[in-house]
């Protein structure tokens, strides 16, 4: 069994529903975003390309982050899931550097001002601190909604088929661009899509064997197999969640509070 995801590049509309669903599911604090969208447009002389790559931790089979982790916090399960035991993470950030896909974020200490800096936390944020505690000083990333998968399996549900056992981003996608399932099962929806639509992994040359595959890239004019390391989108799509001071300016009560 190996959990994996297939992302249809032609269907993604850039709506960011996946990002919002993840923030809800995991009560992500201000400067964390597990899934991201890399969006860019090129006009390479011939055909205009408007492309969007939804990215998140690839749960690589040969994961560099697991290898470099000195404390054993980043581990790989038998089902292929790469996860971080936050209690073991020392915050060294070797993994952040090692991940060639830049899908890991370090949650700085003392930098969790809440979404409305200067105000008390909202009810949702307070609940989140109990229901899904994030540990400052550790590194985080997408965990394929491990909790949902495990709870679902325990209840006899099938991830990718039964909603309760499927990642939140997959459930919410209006475009149906995300499919989840078992890569080892040739009859699973993900395996079929990869087979029939010639699914490809991002940057296979890194040799990490990601568990996320992309399809229909040609249809939407994306450059197959390649996506830039970081967004080349300039100002179009940005992630305020990584610009904490700015959030403070916009949403905060300002110096002295109120």
């Amino acid at each position: 069994m190996r959990w994996g995801m297939v992302i249809n590049l032609a269907k993604c509309t850039r709506c960011h529903g996946c990002v919002a669903a993840c923030r809800i599911e995991h009560f992500l604090p201000l400067h964390l975003t597990w899934p991201r969208l890399i969006a860019w447009e090129t006009d390479a002389g011939k055909k205009l390309e408007v492309s969007t790559y939804p990215v998140r931790c690839n749960h690589c089979k040969d994961a560099p982050c697991v290898k470099v982790c000195p404390t054993g916090a980043t581990q790989q399960r038998e089902d292929g899931l790469v996860w971080i035991d936050q209690n073991k993470c020392a915050g060294c950030r070797y993994c952040v550097v090692a991940c060639p896909y830049q899908n890991r974020t370090f949650l700085s200490k003392d930098k969790d001002p809440g979404y409305f800096p200067g105000y008390s936390l909202t009810g949702f944020e307070k609940k989140g601190k109990k229901l899904y505690p994030h540990q400052a000083g550790t590194t985080e990333k997408c965990n394929f909604c491990m909790e949902r998968i495990d709870a679902g399996l325990a209840n006899g549900l099938k991830p990718g088929i039964d909603r309760e056992a499927t990642p939140a981003c997959v459930n919410t996608c209006q475009a149906g661009a995300l499919t989840f399932g078992d890569l080892d099962d040739p009859e699973s929806e993900v395996s079929k899509l990869i087979r029939e639509k010639d699914g490809f992994q991002l940057h296979p040359e890194y040799g990490t064997d990601p568990s996320i595959y992309y399809i229909d890239g040609k249809l939407c004019g994306c450059v197959s197999n390649k996506a830039p390391l970081e967004a080349t989108t300039g100002s179009h799509i940005q992630h305020l969640s990584t610009i904490e001071d700015r959030a403070k300016e916009i949403f905060g009560a300002g110096v002295g509070g109120k």
Partner: protein, 736 residues
């Protein structure tokens, strides 16, 4: 873990309609997700999901407020609901007595479940001066569908209920896959694309789906009517129209044929900047690969030729026989609960009320049942005297979305009394005398009416409203009871029961059932071939046919056939102006994270696109010495605004696209929350209007673009990326 409950409801973060499951723990919402048992199959977009940050946002209005300083001074006093409603009642009654009830205007934001309350309230107190954005969004198409087919609502059949999906899709100035409105259709549109042969996108700029499209037509903003006439020219000349439908069921084909004759592909290519091969191909795909549907975007209704543009597009539907076929344009059969509009239509407009509609004599379609808002502004600007003495506003930022912001701003200051109902302080609230706190959709019991009208759904209260916030229906009912008691109800539940009575259910039952709809096999196709509308078949129009030429329009003094007219300002209508303002400006840019002027105060959503973006072709930018990410001035004869440049190859070199409807909630009240900083309506003109609907050119005008100097970026909103800059502003929360 505390007490946990799951409430099923309906999202209204845009026009809404997506089924929602809300998990509440000890009175706090801990999760929102789509309801898998609803028509939208458990999917939701970022806007709806982010309601979680809306609901307990510290900037929410919590109590009724009374302004104690000058307009825009930001000085407020907390008052009781009784005092607020007493004051509004008194002001209204005074105005009614002194100037007549038509001196009261009732305004609303985009139609989202409270239209029927605004209209019923206005009619109940005796005024038809309702200010809605309808004339620049949705009303023209509904009215014109009504003129052509006799029935006012044609929607795209994406569901496959008739056994067929559309073979050809046209997305005309619309991104249904992201666009704010009609989101309950987004899921079904994308789903139906899996079965489609052709997707034709007509849009001045590339979108996420243009790469996926069979064909992308990139017209000059404001030239869409000519494009439709050109496509009809091809279809008629090549004889590829639906002959059976045209011969048997339409009226005025010969006149239409004559009308489109001069619009050859060559000529249309010149007008629209779309290569002639693409015009021909689009016409052929549309006419041959049927069934098909055209999704029209409201950008077309924000143009001063909108009436004829829509007329032309509707004729295009008829030529291909794409009317009432499975997989084409269809008028849905209503649910058992009936037409939601009946809630106000049952109070007829009197001749007296009609006589006093502002703009009624001029815009015979757009100002037949509601007034023309621009005329109010013009009247005040010219006479210094406001015909409107009391302005009761619910949601919506008229001050932001109306053309020519400076004039709107000056005029509004002349209105004696404004009461505004909202969830946050914003430009409209700062202009008001009294501000009422409105509840969020997660805090209310109400009936949701979707645009296509084949169903209604329930908004079920998930949590108690914040502070003393109240639902729109409560506010209207309470005020109604005071001013026009005959038409209003004991309480909210009685009001909701009344609206559901035709379905034979009460609010309590409906709230459990969540939906009343008509779908699947219950829907009726090809109504015109049966006795459905007319004995022996036919359309419910005056001629009983689908009217290419409209006698009704002719009787009102309009051209009975679609006619192309240049925008008020364009390279061809005003060549001299074009020398000084060399770029065509359109303000149709919508981001999937905002709904018009809403949500810039929701951190999750603001994080996706912090600033309003001006899309400009990289080559044009290079010529102007502008780089990606620069702040630029965009200037028209009315004024100038600042937006952030995004170099974007998917836009014509002669066109720029500005983000619409923006203000900055974080800017101080004194600036009316940054009303003039980036709002493209500072640039638009309210002088050139559609003769039928009164719609001004909001999405097609001329501008010039140049770089801002450092000195130009003094406001707080621009202080970004300068990490460590001391920030001393304190955002006022007037409640506390």
């Amino acid at each position: 873990m505390g007490e946990r409950k799951v409430i099923k409801s309906t999202c209204k973060s845009c026009h809404g309609g997506c089924g929602v499951k809300v998990t509440v723990e000890d009175g706090t919402i801990v999760n929102i997700e789509g309801n898998p048992d609803s028509l939208t199959r458990g999917t939701m977009c970022a806007k709806g999901l982010s309601s979680i940050q809306h609901i307990d946002n510290p900037y929410r209005l919590k109590y009724p407020l009374k302004r104690v300083g000058e307009r825009g001074e930001g000085k407020w006093k907390k008052i009781s609901w009784d005092e607020a409603l007493d004051t509004i009642e008194k002001k209204m009654k005074e105005a009614m007595e002194k100037y007549g009830p038509w001196s009261i205007a009732v305004s609303q934001g985009t139609g989202r479940g409270y239209n029927r309350y605004t209209h019923r309230f206005a009619r109940s107190i005796g005024t038809a001066n309702v200010i809605t954005p309808g004339y620049v969004c949705h009303s023209p198409r509904l009215g014109l569908y009504g003129l052509v087919t006799g029935y006012g609502r044609l929607y795209c059949d994406y569901h496959g209920w008739g056994g067929e999906f559309p073979k050809t899709h046209i997305m005309w100035a619309k991104q249904l896959e992201i666009s704010s409105a009609d989101s309950e259709m987004c899921y079904w549109y994308i789903n139906s694309l899996d079965y489609a042969k052709n997707l034709i996108i007509i849009d001045p700029r590339a979108t996420a789906y243009t790469s996926r499209a069979t064909l992308w037509l990139q017209p000059r903003p404001g030239s869409d009517c000519a494009l439709a006439l050109g496509m009809m020219n091809v279809i008629i000349n090549e004889g590829i129209y639906d002959k059976e439908f045209v011969e048997k069921w339409t009226y005025g084909f010969d006149e239409l044929k004559e009308r489109v004759k001069p619009y050859t592909p060559e000529k249309v290519a010149e007008i629209t900047w779309v290569p002639k091969e693409k015009i021909i191909e689009a016409a052929r795909l549309w006419a041959i690969d049927t069934p098909g549907c055209i999704q029209v975007g409201s950008s077309l209704e924000r143009q001063a030729n909108c009436g004829h543009t829509l007329r032309a597009i509707i004729c295009l539907m008829g030529l291909a026989g794409n009317i009432e076929r499975p997989g084409s344009m269809i008028s849905w059969v209503l649910p058992k609960t009936g037409l939601v509009e009946d809630f106000y239509l049952e109070i007829p407009l009197t001749d007296e009320m009609k006589k006093h509609i502002i703009g009624g004599e001029k815009f015979k379609l757009g100002a037949a049942r509601t007034c023309n808002p621009d005329m109010i502004i013009k009247t005040i600007a010219q006479s210094g005297e406001s015909p409107i003495k009391v302005w009761f506003s619910v949601g919506g930022q008229q001050i932001v979305h109306m053309a020519n912001t400076k004039e709107v701003f000056a005029a509004m200051k002349k209105v004696d009394f404004i009461a505004h109902c909202d969830q946050f302080m914003g430009p409209m609230a700062e202009m008001s005398d009294i501000v009422l706190p409105a509840a969020h959709w997660l805090e209310i019991d109400d009936i949701y009416d979707m645009h296509p009208r084949f169903m209604i759904e329930a908004h079920n209260k998930a949590v108690e409203p914040i502070g003393e916030a109240k639902s729109d229906v409560w506010i209207f009912n309470e005020l109604g009871k005071r001013v026009a008691p005959k038409y209003w109800f004991k309480d909210v539940e009685a009001c909701l029961d009344y609206q559901l009575r035709k379905g034979g259910i009460t609010w309590k039952e409906f709230s459990q059932r969540l939906v009343s709809g008509c779908w699947g096999k219950d829907q009726v196709y090809y109504k015109y071939k049966t006795d459905y509308w007319r004995k022996g078949g036919g359309f419910p129009s005056p001629t009983g046919k689908f009217e290419f030429a409209s006698k009704a329009l002719e009787a009102l003094g309009y051209d009975p056939l679609p006619q192309f007219r240049e925008p008020g300002e364009s390279p061809y209508s005003t060549p001299d102006l074009h020398k000084e303002y060399p770029l065509v400006l359109t303000s149709g840019y919508r981001a999937p994270f905002y709904f018009l002027s809403q949500y810039r105060n929701i951190p999750w959503l603001r994080s996706f696109m912090e600033y309003p973006i001006l899309q400009i072709n990289p080559e044009t930018a290079k010529k102007l010495g502008i780089e990606d990410g620069d702040w630029v001035w965009v200037e028209s004869p009315r004024g100038r605004i600042r937006q952030k440049v995004r170099c974007f190859p998917g836009i014509d070199r002669r066109v720029v696209m500005a983000t619409a409807n923006c203000f900055y909630p974080e800017e101080p009240p004194q600036s009316f929350h940054g009303l003039f900083i980036s709002n493209p309506n500072v640039l638009t003109d309210n002088g050139h209007q559609d003769p039928m609907y009164g719609s001004p050119d909001l999405t097609c005008l001329l501008c010039k673009v140049y770089k801002c100097s450092k000195e130009d970026l003094k406001e707080n909103v621009f202080k970004t990326q300068e990490y460590g800059t001391p920030f001393t502003k304190v955002l006022p929360i007037p409640n506390e």
